[in-house]
C-alpha cells in the first residue's frame, strides 16, 4: 500500500510539550500520531513546542506509526517556521487547520516544497492532510481534496463547526449529518481518505463507540483521538467480522482463480461478485490484519 492509502483508523493528537509522554507514545498503538503545534500549545510556548517536535521526530523511533504535524493556521505568525521545523525533522505529513479554499492548501504546499529543498528531503515526501472546520470548508470539500497531489485525506473538526451551524448536539449525531455526508462524498469522489472529529468526552466510551459505528458504516476511514483509552474502542469497531473476513478471502482467491479461467462474474454465497469488489475485499483484509484478526500471508 502506498503511504497515501495506509490504514488510519485512529489518529491520536499529542502535545509535544508533554515530555514524559512523547518519548514512547507508540505504546498506545494508534495508526497515526498528530503532533499538535496549534490548539494544544499556548502562544508563549510555540517556539518550545516546535523545538520539542523537531527533536522527537528526529531522535525517537515510533515503530512505524505515521507521524503528522498539525501546524498553526496561516492567520498566525507561526505557520511558516512550523513547516520548516516539521520538514527538516522528516515528518510524514502536515495537517493544515481551518481549510476553506484551495488557496489555503497552495500556500502551505509552497512552503513545504521550499523546506524540502532547503533541508534536502525527497521532494514530495511530505504529505498533506486537510482539516475542515467551517461550513464554507465543508462546501469546498471536493475542491480542497483536489488542491494538491500530496493530500491523503480530509477531516471534519466539530468544535467550532457546530456553533457556526447553529446546530445542537444530539445522541444520533444529527448536528453533524450535513458535514459528515459532504465529507465522505467529497473524499470518495476525489479518491482520498476521510476522518471524523474527536470525541471530547473522554470517559463517554458508549457515545464514542456509537459515533464510531455510525461513521464506520458511512464509509469513513478513521477518527481522531485525544486520549489513548479511545484507541482500542475505535479499533474494535473498525475490525471486520469473521464472516466479512471469510467472504473477503473467498472473493480475493476466487477472483484470481477465475480471472485465470477468463471468468468475470461469479457467486460467493448469495452474492454476485465481480472485479469491482476486489478493492473492498482488500480493504477488509487490511483492517483484519491490523486488528490482529488475521495474521497475513
Amino acid at each position: 500500500m502506498s503511504s497515501k492509502n495506509r490504514l488510519r483508523r485512529t489518529m491520536m493528537f499529542l502535545s509535544t510539550q508533554r515530555a514524559g509522554s512523547i518519548r514512547d507514545a507508540y505504546i498506545y498503538a494508534p495508526d497515526s500520531i498528530i503532533f499538535d503545534l496549534e490548539d494544544a500549545v499556548a502562544v508563549s510556548e510555540k517556539d518550545s513546542a516546535r523545538v520539542a517536535l523537531y527533536h522527537v521526530l528526529k531522535y525517537v523511533d515510533y515503530k512505524g506509526i505515521e507521524r503528522l504535524v498539525r501546524i498553526n493556521g496561516a492567520d498566525t505568525p507561526f505557520w511558516k517556521e512550523d513547516i520548516r521545523a516539521s520538514v527538516a525533522a522528516g515528518c510524514d505529513g502536515i495537517r493544515i487547520p481551518k481549510c476553506e479554499t484551495p488557496y489555503d492548501v497552495e500556500i502551505v504546499e509552497e512552503q513545504v516544497v521550499k523546506a524540502e529543498k532547503e533541508f534536502e528531503r525527497p521532494i514530495g515526501s511530505t504529505l498533506l492532510q486537510v482539516a475542515i472546520e467551517t461550513p464554507l470548508g465543508v462546501r469546498n470539500a471536493y475542491e480542497l481534496s483536489m488542491a494538491s497531489k500530496r493530500i491523503f485525506g480530509i477531516s471534519i473538526g466539530a468544535g467550532d463547526f457546530m456553533r457556526s451551524m447553529h446546530a445542537r448536539r444530539r445522541d444520533d449525531g444529527a448536528e453533524l449529518y450535513a458535514a459528515r455526508a459532504q465529507l465522505v462524498l467529497a473524499a470518495r469522489a476525489a479518491g482520498v481518505q476521510c476522518y471524523d472529529t474527536v470525541h471530547i468526552k473522554v470517559k463517554d466510551y458508549e457515545g464514542l463507540e456509537r459515533d464510531t459505528q455510525l461513521i464506520y458504516d458511512m464509509g469513513f476511514d478513521g477518527k481522531s483521538v485525544i486520549h489513548p483509552s479511545q484507541i482500542p474502542i475505535i479499533h474494535k469497531v473498525f475490525t471486520p467480522t469473521e464472516q466479512e473476513i471469510e467472504k473477503a478471502q473467498k472473493i480475493i482467491s476466487k477472483l484470481s482463480n477465475e480471472a485465470k479461467e477468463g471468468v468475470g462474474v461469479f457467486m460467493v454465497g448469495d452474492d454476485m461478485i465481480d472485479v469491482a469488489m476486489l478493492e473492498g475485499a482488500k480493504r477488509i483484509m487490511a483492517l483484519a490484519e491490523a486488528a490482529g484478526a488475521y495474521k497475513g500471508e
Binding site: G20, R23, D24, I27, Y28, D61, H227, P228, S229, G292
Partner: protein, 519 residues
C-alpha cells in the same frame, strides 16, 4: 564467597551456620527441629492477663537489653503499635533491642532516633521503606539488618534462627484473656496471619488492642492459650490508612496496557484452565490484572479455583459472582476485604506459615499456578530486585514475592519498560538480588514480553500470543535505547543489610551507597 546467583557474600557473615544461596530448592526435604518457646504456664484461674499499660507489660515480660521483640504489619501505613511499644521500651532505659518486624514503612519513621541512640541495634524485616530504609542505608543501625520474605521469616522463627523474646501483637479486638481477631473493632484489619507464628514461638506474647470485647472472642486468629498479657490502648492505628476505602483502580492508560498484556500472557499459557489458582499483589498494575480477568474467564467458560495472599475488593466481587472458588487470605488491603473475611462463603484466613513457609510440609504457594508480581527492576538473568532503588537506598520489600515465585508454576513479573523518571526496569545486573532468576518465568512490559530460556515449554505455548516476544537482552536494549544506559551505582564497602533467601541462605548483601560525584 560467591553464591549461586554470582553475588559475593563477605565471609564475615558466613558463621553460625549461615550459608550462601545455593539454588531456590537446595534445601528441599531439609530436616530440622522446630524450636519451642519458653512458656510460663498458667493454671491459676484467678490470674488476670490485662495490664494497665505497655510499660507494665514490657516489665512483666522481663524484657532486658539485647533481647528480641517482634511485630506484624497488618496495620500497614496506619500502624501505631511498633512506635508506641518501642517508645515505651526506650523510656524504660532498655536498649540494644533487635526488632523482628514483618515489615516497616512510613508509619515507623519515629524509629530512626531510636536506631541512632542505640535502643534499636538490630532489625529483621521484609519491608524497609521510608526513613527507616534510608537510615539503614546510611549505616545508622549498629548491626547489619536482615531482609527476609514472609515465608523466610516464618521459617527463621520456627527453626530458631531468630528467637523472639517478646511478641507485641496488635489486634483490632481482644478479650481479656488474649483471644485476638482482626475484626469487630474500630481499626479492623481483617486477618492476623502474620502474627500467628510469633504467637506460637515467642517466649512471651502481648496483645495490644484498642477494643476489649467479651470473652470468648472467637473464632480467634491468635488463641488466648498463646497469650501472656493484654494491654488496652486508645488507638492501635489510623483506620484510614490500615485499609484503603477502595483500592485505587488505575485509569492510567500505560498501566492498563501493562495489565492487559499480563492477562493476555496468562491466557496463552498451559495453566489457564478451569480451577487454576492465582495470586496478585496490592500494587497498581498487578491489581489491574484482575479487571481483565473476568472477560477472559467468561470467554473461556472457566473459573479460578482459589486465590492466595493479599486480598482486595475485585477479588471479593469475583468470589461473590462465582468466578473464584475460594480466597485464602493472608492480608487485607481494603475495607471490602476486611469486612468479607470469615463472613463471605469461600473467604478464609490462613497464616503466613501456611501461606509461604518453605520449611513446613508444603505451603499454599506451592499450589499456585500463577503469580503476578511487580518489581523495581529485573536483569538479563531474570533476577528481580524489589529492595533497592537505583540510588542504592533501601526502599522496598520482598514480601511474599520470593515465596510465591518459587512455588508458582508460572511466575509473571510486570513493570513499565522505563518508568516516567527515566528509570529502566530492565538492566544488565540488578543492584540487589531478591528473587533468583531461576524462579522467574516471564517478564512483561507495555511493549512486549520475554520468557526465561529455561522455560521452552512456555515459549512454545505462547507462540500464538499476539504480543511481541523479545529476548530479555532485547528488552534491555529497548529500555536503554529509550532512556540511555545508566551508570553503575557506586557503594562503599560497609554492608548495611543481608538479604536472606527464604531458606535462610544469603542471596545478596546491601552496602552503603557512596556519595555521587559528577566528574
Amino acid at each position: 564467597m560467591k553464591n549461586k546467583v554470582g553475588r559475593e557474600i563477605p565471609d564475615e557473615f558466613l558463621k553460625d551456620g549461615k550459608q550462601v544461596f545455593q539454588g531456590a530448592f537446595a534445601f528441599d526435604k531439609n530436616v530440622y527441629h522446630k524450636v519451642a518457646s519458653k512458656t510460663v504456664g498458667v493454671s491459676d484461674p484467678n490470674h488476670s492477663k490485662v495490664l494497665p499499660d505497655l510499660k507494665a507489660a514490657i516489665m512483666a515480660c522481663g524484657l532486658k537489653d539485647g533481647m528480641t521483640v517482634s511485630f506484624h504489619h497488618h496495620f500497614r501505613d496506619g500502624d501505631y503499635v511498633v512506635c508506641m511499644v518501642m517508645q515505651a521500651i526506650a523510656e524504660l532505659g532498655i536498649k540494644d533491642i533487635m526488632v523482628c518486624a514483618t515489615s516497616l514503612g512510613t508509619a515507623h519513621d519515629a524509629l530512626v532516633p531510636l536506631m541512632e541512640s542505640g535502643v534499636i541495634t538490630g532489625i529483621s524485616s521484609s519491608g524497609l521503606r521510608g526513613k527507616v530504609g534510608k537510615a539503614i542505608s546510611d549505616g545508622k543501625l549498629k548491626n547489619v539488618a536482615y531482609i527476609r520474605s514472609h515465608g523466610g521469616r516464618a521459617a527463621a522463627i520456627a527453626s530458631g534462627a531468630v528467637h523472639i523474646d517478646v511478641a507485641f501483637l496488635g489486634a483490632p479486638t481482644s478479650d481479656d484473656y488474649g483471644n485476638a481477631r482482626g475484626q469487630g473493632g474500630i481499626s479492623d484489619c481483617g486477618v492476623l496471619s502474620y502474627g500467628e507464628v510469633d504467637a506460637r514461638y515467642a517466649d512471651r506474647v502481648v496483645i495490644v488492642t484498642d477494643t476489649l470485647v467479651p470473652f470468648p472472642n472467637v473464632p480467634a486468629s491468635i488463641s488466648c492459650s498463646d497469650v501472656d498479657y493484654v494491654v488496652v490502648v486508645d488507638k492501635i492505628g489510623d483506620s484510614e490508612k490500615i485499609a484503603n476505602h477502595t483500592m485505587r483502580m488505575t485509569e492510567n492508560p500505560r498501566e492498563l496496557i501493562l495489565a492487559e498484556n499480563a492477562a493476555l500472557i496468562m491466557k496463552y499459557t498451559p495453566y489457564f484452565k478451569d480451577g487454576f489458582s492465582f495470586q496478585t499483589g496490592g500494587g497498581g498494575p498487578s491489581l489491574a490484572v484482575t479487571r481483565f480477568l473476568r472477560p477472559m474467564l467468561e470467554e473461556a467458560g472457566i473459573k479460578i479455583g482459589f486465590t492466595v495472599g493479599g486480598c482486595t475488593k475485585p477479588m471479593i466481587d469475583l468470589l461473590k459472582e462465582g468466578f473464584i472458588g475460594a480466597i485464602m487470605d493472608s492480608q487485607d488491603f481494603d475495607f471490602a476485604s476486611v469486612e468479607s473475611v470469615h463472613k463471605t462463603p469461600g473467604h478464609f484466613e490462613i497464616t503466613t506459615s501456611e501461606y509461604a513457609d518453605p520449611f513446613n510440609k508444603g505451603a499454599y504457594v506451592n499450589r499456585l499456578d500463577y503469580v503476578m508480581l511487580g518489581a523495581l527492576d529485573i536483569d538479563v538473568d531474570f533476577n528481580v530486585n524489589v529492595i533497592t532503588g537505583v540510588d542504592g537506598v533501601v526502599r522496598g520489600a520482598p514480601g511474599g514475592h520470593v515465596d510465591a515465585a518459587a512455588g508458582s508454576k508460572c511466575t509473571v513479573v510486570m513493570a513499565p519498560l522505563v518508568r516516567k523518571g527515566r528509570l529502566s526496569s530492565v538492566r544488565d545486573r540488578v543492584l540487589t538480588v531478591t528473587t533468583p532468576g531461576e524462579t522467574v518465568d516471564i517478564f512483561v512490559t507495555e511493549v512486549g514480553y520475554a520468557v526465561n530460556p529455561g522455560r521452552q515449554d512456555l515459549i512454545e505455548s505462547l507462540k500464538n500470543c499476539p504480543l511481541k516476544r523479545y529476548t530479555i537482552e532485547g528488552l534491555r536494549d529497548e529500555a536503554y535505547a529509550l532512556a540511555g544506559k545508566p551508570e553503575d551505582t557506586k557503594f562503599e564497602d560497609k554492608v548495611v543489610a543481608l538479604v536472606e533467601y527464604r531458606d535462610g541462605t544469603i542471596i545478596d548483601v546491601v552496602r552503603k551507597p557512596a556519595k555521587y560525584v559528577l566528574e
